[in-house]
């Protein structure tokens, strides 16, 4: 999915990292928006290994849990509630890369 371009002014992009790949994102976007714009719909796997992705986009369903690097550890966060910031590192599997 791509961003609306006509008639929209966005701040200059920053770079975030998803599963090791550098992705452009605009300040003010959520991580979920940036992931989807980058074509990453699979945000985590459930216990059976099936893909899960954004559902409610408002923080209630917990489907969009990703891992976010926090120093040496990885924390689970809802991608739809997490604002992007320069240097953000997110992963769809624990502790990757």
């Amino acid at each position: 999915m791509s961003r609306v371009a006509d008639g929209v002014n966005r701040p200059a992009p920053i770079t975030i990292e998803i599963d090791g790949a550098a992705i452009p994102a605009h300040p003010g976007e959520t991580l979920a928006a940036a992931m989807i714009a980058a074509g990453v719909y699979r945000m985590r796997d459930d216990r059976s290994g099936a893909p899960r992705g954004m559902l409610c986009n408002m923080g209630t369903c917990s489907e969009c849990f990703v891992w976010i690097a926090d120093g040496q550890t990885w924390r689970r966060r809802r991608a739809c509630l997490t604002p992007v910031a320069g240097g953000l590192r997110a992963a769809t599997r624990e502790g990757q890369p």
């Binding site: 216990r47 917990s62 849990f65 550890t73 924390r75 689970r76 966060r77």
Partner: protein
């Protein structure tokens, strides 16, 4: 048609009572305003705590230990037989529970508690910090002791009431959801209930009525001019993301509010009686139907207590916190049985009714089936508060 028993409320108490009554051939009818398990029974911590609880050790709460221990001993047997009796798995874990001490004062309190419990016939054991860490190596190094009870544990609050409801139905109970009691009044030898069922108003007659309406019980009774001393306890719970299994036990704290356990999936469930704040109605009274607000300071304090005794929690992420409402009675002990001022009206509420619910529901059903209050729960009878209704004229 006059029902033998009409049960108001489809929480753990109501559903379990329905099952016992149905098995005895009394074909009860249960009405539930929302859905089965929509109240405290589906929101609680699921702790099966059989040691004397922290709140009974607080100043002003003395003298009740014996009653509680007696009831808890019976509750242990009740839980131990439930999966077999309902013939289905219920996530009941009774692998043991630890009540922790962090300092000398805690330890002294634990030692006297254990001595008292042993006197009363409850086989708790005092462990040293090293012995406690032998059971749970991830406990903080400063934990200096624990009271251990081998049959404490936890169960899954999301499935138990439904299991009772299913069992009750298969024994002939009629269970109606979206069915709210609006009014209840005495009519000759029986009770007449006015019920709103999916927008329609219907009436029902019954010889016996059980108010199993949880924290709504006092208000339902008040509408009939009856006083039942039950007070709101809005609480909160939290759960972390999954981690590899390491805690098969229930963890409590003797000096601080804490309950902690690990689910089969690996999530850590953390609570311990921290308050949330009820939403208010236009007249300023708490709104019993609305979920209470989370109090961020209490959330932080609760998690701090948990991480204080289990430092590895600092690496976990909180994935959800929720609130629920329950009620405690004037003397903190459950209120169970017939209301003396209103013959035929039975109530069961107050106290740790997840742990005690299956047992007390059985006892309540027995008091209707056998037409006498079982001696085991005489101490919890609603009659101890009969003086509050000395001047009541139930309408």
């Amino acid at each position: 048609m006059t029902h033998e028993v009409l049960i108001i409320g489809g929480g753990l108490l109501g559903c379990a009572a329905a099952w016992h009554l149905a098995r005895a051939g009394l074909a009860p009818r249960l009405i539930e305003a929302r859905g089965i398990n929509a109240g405290a029974s589906g929101q609680n911590a699921g702790s099966l705590h059989f040691q004397i609880e922290r709140r009974f050790l607080e100043p002003g709460a003395s003298g009740q230990g014996a009653q509680i221990v007696r009831l808890n001993t019976l509750a242990i047997e009740e839980w131990a037989g439930l999966e077999e009796e309902l013939s289905r798995p219920l996530d009941i874990h009774m692998h043991g529970g630890l009540m922790l001490a962090e300092n000398e004062a805690d330890l002294a309190l634990l030692a006297s508690k254990v001595a008292r419990e042993n006197e009363l016939g409850l086989p708790t054991q005092l462990l040293s910090g090293t012995e406690a860490r032998g059971l749970v190596p991830r406990l903080a190094p400063h934990i200096c002791g624990a009271a251990w009870l081998a049959r404490e544990g936890h169960a899954n609050p999301r499935i138990l009431a439904d299991a009772f409801a299913d069992a009750a139905r298969s024994e002939g109970a009629v269970i109606e959801t979206q069915s709210r009691l609006l009014d209840l009044r005495r009519d000759g030898e029986s009770w007449q209930a006015t019920i709103e069922h999916s927008g329609r108003i219907v009436t029902a007659r019954a010889r016996h009525v059980i108010l199993a309406t949880g924290h709504w019980a006092a208000r339902v009774a008040a509408r009939m001019g009856l006083n039942i001393p039950l007070y709101l306890a809005p609480l909160m719970m939290s759960v972390t993301d999954r981690t590899a299994p390491f805690l098969p036990y229930l963890i409590q704290h003797v000096g601080k509010r804490l309950s902690m356990k690990q689910t089969d999936d690996g999530n850590m469930v953390i609570g311990g009686g921290w308050a949330s704040a009820p939403q208010k109605m236009a007249d300023g009274l708490p709104d019993l139907d609305a979920p209470p607000y989370l109090v961020p300071d209490n959330l932080r304090a609760n998690l701090e207590v948990a991480a204080g005794v289990m430092p590895c929690l600092r690496a976990r992420s909180l994935i959800r916190s929720w609130t629920g409402m329950t009620c405690v009675s004037a003397d903190q002990l459950p209120i169970v049985g017939e209301v003396p001022a209103a013959p035929g009206l039975f109530v069961a509420a107050g106290g740790s009714m997840f742990t005690l619910g299956p047992l007390l529901a059985r006892m309540l059903a027995r008091s209707i089936i056998e037409r006498a209050m079982p001696e085991e729960i005489a101490l919890f009878s609603a009659a101890r508060f009969a003086h509050l209704n000395a001047f009541a004229v139930p309408s």
